[in-house]
Symmetry: D2
Subunit: 424 residues, 4 copies
């Protein structure tokens, strides 16, 4: 199995695609799963709510769709996807039992892969064929684990009761895709949801069963549209989008700290105006807020909105506010982390692979799996997120990133044991 | 007549009252005019539109009303005034003829009169009896001229055709009273309106028939009301009126210059908050805009409004905007300035008194008579404003201000000649 | 002893004095201690560094000094104080031994005492004789405990070795006085320093030996001085202190949050300008910053300073920055809290009085004793702060505040035991 | 001559070069003038003060220099130019007489020329060969007139006394080149300086001898350099260049209007930051100020500087301020406009060509010839600027711009007559 998982991971590594652009990736997943002949494949509205498409660039989507065909994705599968990537593969035993979701994110990072000949993907010939794109966060590994689990299911379909949904989620980078999956309805019947990340804050042989400090965040783009006029002759006839933007920035950064905990605001980028002698007719802000809790994050977001809208009003310009990403805090369901803990302690094979079980360790970043987890919990299910330790060659998102492929088999094995525990 | 006019002026000088507080003054005017027995007296809604009461302090109004009674104003007249000062005295000949308005402003300045024994009002015993109040702009003289004209009308009532309205306007200081008179309807049937100021930019013996550069202006008070909270424990629970105010100030001063001419903005005063460890729940701004034309002034005012409202919205506080004063530019009706010019040239007595007729000279200040003049012109009438020269002892509004009382008789005489010209 | 302590407390309660104005209070303390005939009295530079006088109003100081004489303070003592309140009473045994400081704060709050006849100080006739001033925080009790300890020392002077300094600190309210004492040198030879507060978060019979969450804070006043000019005629000739202030406010509130923990900023009050048609020539801001740690507080303060200075520069106005209060976090020396804990456990009398020993409880406010404690620790000594529980009738700083006087004897007894433990 | 002038104009039209990049243009001018064999050619420091190079892009300069060689400019001339364009051609008669300068600007506009086949330069085959560059302001005509005058001088060198300097100035667009010429010393010995523009506010057959309303202006680029940090983890460790820039913008737009006349400020463009989750470490502002007079413009510029520097200080970032363009108001020397007026009235040929002599007409734009004119006047000489009327096909700076070439011969003829008048 190990070789098979490595082979799969390397195939996906060679064709990395950015968030919402994963047409080749999704098509290959579907092609593989169809072969197994025991899954129903859900796509588009069946697993993605289009009202929650965060930070999706329509032009890039179209280009990537064309590229997928060129690279050999099957036309009938691409047709079935329409313009929406990602899929959910459903195994239904037809027998009573729990309903379990496993979530795997599938997008890459916008980084050019290292050309260093000692970089393993170069040396072994599976480096990115898409310039400016690289699986430098390990999602290629996640896909591979997901397909390994699919194969396991197909081989044990008479044994497993209940229902299993393998969720291949697009656009995790920038925490963009989670909201669309969480609000699609595909999770609402789940009794359990599990998700994990490889690498990160844990080494090969380690597993963190209850990582902490997942930051709630919203990513927001604000555009102001005004009216140009000559800055010397008729400045009053202009509607100054640049000034609206600058006063919005200064007010956003002055949003009050929150008494209940950590909050953050950053306008990280501004671009406005065309030339020095013209009243600027357009401006764009790229904004991020964070909060220690969802409430604090919501407070920050509400204040950002109010300031954007009122700055537009003050300067008589139009304002467009887009949420382009979001994630919330993580609260693992106790029942599931205990189950995980128990399996890791009791199962010999797993004990062998995970010699160090870490209860909690700080994650200190954002993950949109949290939105899926919250949804499942809100619908009455249990959900958890854990870290599968894996030695890495360089930091996540760097061009020299690579990970110990041993984690792939370990990951599949852990999910096998969990499925067997819950569904037999 | 000269002695009579001086006596009247000094009586009013001794009891100066600030804008909207002229109860004693109005009562004494009415008492005097009633004696003449040929005028109808209009008060309250008949000559003041209460929707346009600019910069009126209700508490000060009540106190001044009581004081007027104490100082000997007749109770039945004060009762008739209600809480509104000013009056219009209408002479209607019952015969066909033009309808003419003459406007006299009656309020004083909030200045304490000089205690210097060489200051004439002190030496001659008619200095202000109301501490902190002084007729240091010459409106006492204006009242006196108005009453002199009233007497002349009563003595020539069989000679004069048409209709004459003597408009005793409250609250010219701060350009507060004009709007209420202009919008009351009392001017709408006038064929002619005339108004003047004594002193200012012209000496005894001079008259300026077409003064220029009257500044359009609006005076605005903005109050923000928020919610206090503890700045350490729960800053986010406050609604910060101080921040709303400061962001309003910074945005107001950034209102674009106008391509068509001079504009001005000044937030001259701010006061907000109660203490350093409390999120401020209240703030007040005192604002002034100006424009070379009414349009420019209106542009500035509209921008101030939009910024005040949107700053309130940005910081989730309430906002109250009050116009507390306004004046517009002056455009004298050519027909009237030519009439004035002609009378001054042709009449021997007038030539004697006004040896120097100045066509134009810059006024460089604001006057709310401009609102009355614009109203008359909009209704199809003619209107003008002129400067009656008078030597002054010190600048207008200073505590040593005094003027050459010779101007009183000259003023009455000029109006006599004009009335005779137009109504016989 | 109980009656004596109550009597003392009530005498001080009747003559409350605000921070830096405690002339009567200091004189009475000195008068009492001199009678005991075994203390050296330090005043002025001996215990107050005049470079660190925070938030001191010179006019109020002078008035209070006169009032103290009128109320019967001894003239020779007032002369000795000069214009500086507070004193340190030093007992030196002349024998080897530790050097111990005990700190008692002596100022009152600017609150008018309740006139309610059921309010004990009214009922029993010791209510404040100084209108607008009230010992509504319990510092009258602190003084009383301090004098009780002084009496104990005088009665046991042959028993006690080493040196004891009783520090009667002015101006704790607004965290104003601590810095001047901490930087005077009077603490630098201490091996131990102890301070406490009565009431607060603990009831009669309770004692909190290691209260937490003392907020670091700096209180800052910023004044801008510009140049007035006519807002219509020559706005450019003015130097706009109001605008400088508003841009300072907006920038201060935009100071970045700190990655290492809680920070706060509040401009709680602004007042600027004289009238709407004048470019404002003066402005004043009342500001407060806080930080979870001294470093974070220092970061906030440094940013406030930089913004104040640069806003002045931007608008060509002068800027005056005054620190008017400061406090830091509390880190009790472990050795001392353990000593305290041990004494409370081992001593029967104390066990009787303090039935409940609380290890930690949140203080959630600021205290300038923290500055004294930090100083002693920096000089190599040990220091701690604790809460002497006492039932209170109403919240600290309210006009109905009163406390269970039983705490006075308990407090003196605790210090007695500690002194005996450390100095015999 | 007419054909010769047209031919020259069209040659330059085909190779338009932007400001500071006019290597081909300058080389061709020098080549032509050298042929005439009576001029000394001044380049680099002889006519350009490198401390006043406004708005010059070093990379573009280098590229353009290479392109000039490729297009056939003589290598020895390009070598002589170094990296500085423009030249002054000096005819010195060796005989006593006045010293006269004529100024011709030589740069093009960054506009792509119309591809419309009916556009004359397209139809006649002399359209721009440099994409994105076009002589759409008529400076190609100015060069042609200058060379026509050079030819006339060479043909009349025994007749003309004194000295003549033909000043071929780079970079008039954006008012960038004038300051470097004005401060080079090359003008300081001139008794007379004349400059003109073709087209603009006057038609063929018209000449405006004293155009008015030249706007004083300064173009300023401000760059802020801060320090990036992670917006979530350690926002306080960043030095926020974006916030410094936004607070600079808001303050700049709030610079007070000027009592003495029209002023303008516009930040027309801002770009800052790299991404939403990073504290921005760089920002750039493109700014323009204007004033009715040099003093007002200087006031605006001084305020912009102060605000830029102090915003940098407030946010602890570095600040770089570059003046990238400047022009002042025009005050033609009365003696010269009268001379011009006289020649136009007296000379038959000129009367024929210029049927309409317009005394004043508003220019309503900026021109850096004003800096040369002011310099000459400051050094004791006389100087003037006039408009040579010419029908135009489309507005200056538009891609369809073209002008009536008849103006070329008229322009040369006018200069001939003036030179003969002044130097014979």
């Amino acid at each position: 199995m190990k070789e098979c998982l490595s082979r799969l991971r390397r195939e996906f590594h060679a064709y990395p695609e950015a968030g919402w652009e994963e047409f080749y990736t999704t098509a290959k997943i579907i092609e593989y799963v169809k072969e197994l002949d025991c899954f129903e494949i859900l796509t588009q509205k069946e697993c993605i709510n289009e009202s929650f498409l965060r930070g999706r660039d329509v032009d890039a989507v179209k280009a990537s769709r064309q590229m997928a065909l060129k690279n050999g994705a099957k036309e009938e599968i691409i047709d079935a996807l329409g313009e929406i990537t990602g899929c959910v593969c459903v195994f239904d035993s037809g027998r009573a039992g729990a309903s379990i979701g496993l979530r795997f994110d599938i997008d890459c990072v916008c980084v050019s892969e290292s050309k260093n000949p000692s970089h393993a993907p170069q040396k072994l010939g599976f480096a990115s064929k898409n310039e400016g794109r690289m699986h430098s966060c390990g999602h290629d590994g996640h896909i591979s684990i997901g397909l390994g689990v699919a194969k396991f299911i197909s081989q044990n379909k008479h044994l497993l009761n209940g229902k299993i949904k393998l969720i291949f989620q697009p656009a995790e980078e920038g925490v963009r895709g989670g909201a669309a999956v969480a609000n699609s309805g595909v999770l609402d019947d789940l009794d359990y949801l599990m998700a994990c990340h490889i690498g990160f804050c844990a080494k090969s042989g380690e597993i963190v069963i209850n990582p902490t400090n997942f930051l709630c965040t919203s990513k927001v783009d604000v555009k102001f549209k005004g009216l140009a006029s000559h800055a010397g002759a008729s400045p009053n006839e202009g509607k100054n989008a640049l000034l609206a933007a600058c006063f919005a920035v200064t007010q956003m950064h002055a949003i009050s700290r929150h008494g209940a905990g950590m909050s953050r605001i950053n306008v990280g980028r501004i671009e406005a105006g065309s030339g020095r002698n013209v009243i600027a007719d357009s401006a764009k802000l790229e904004i991020e807020v964070r909060g220690e809790t969802s409430q604090i994050n919501a407070y920050m977001l509400e204040r950002v909105r109010a300031i954007a809208l009122s700055s537009a009003q003050a300067w008589d310009v139009e304002c467009d506010i887009q949420i382009v990403g979001e994630a919330c805090e993580l609260e693992n369901s106790k029942e599931l982390t205990e189950l995980l803990d128990g399996v890791l302690k009791d199962d010999k094979e797993l004990k062998n692979r995970f010699s160090t079980v870490i209860k909690t360790r700080e994650f200190n970043a954002s993950e949109d799996a949290t939105l899926l987890i919250r949804r499942v919990q809100e619908c009455g299910g249990k959900a958890c997120y854990f870290i599968l330790g894996a030695d890495i060659k360089a930091g996540h998102h760097s061009s020299d990133f690579d990970f110990d492929e041993g984690v792939l088999e370990s990951g599949v094995m852990l999910y096998q044991k969990l499925l067997l525990k819950l569904l037999t």
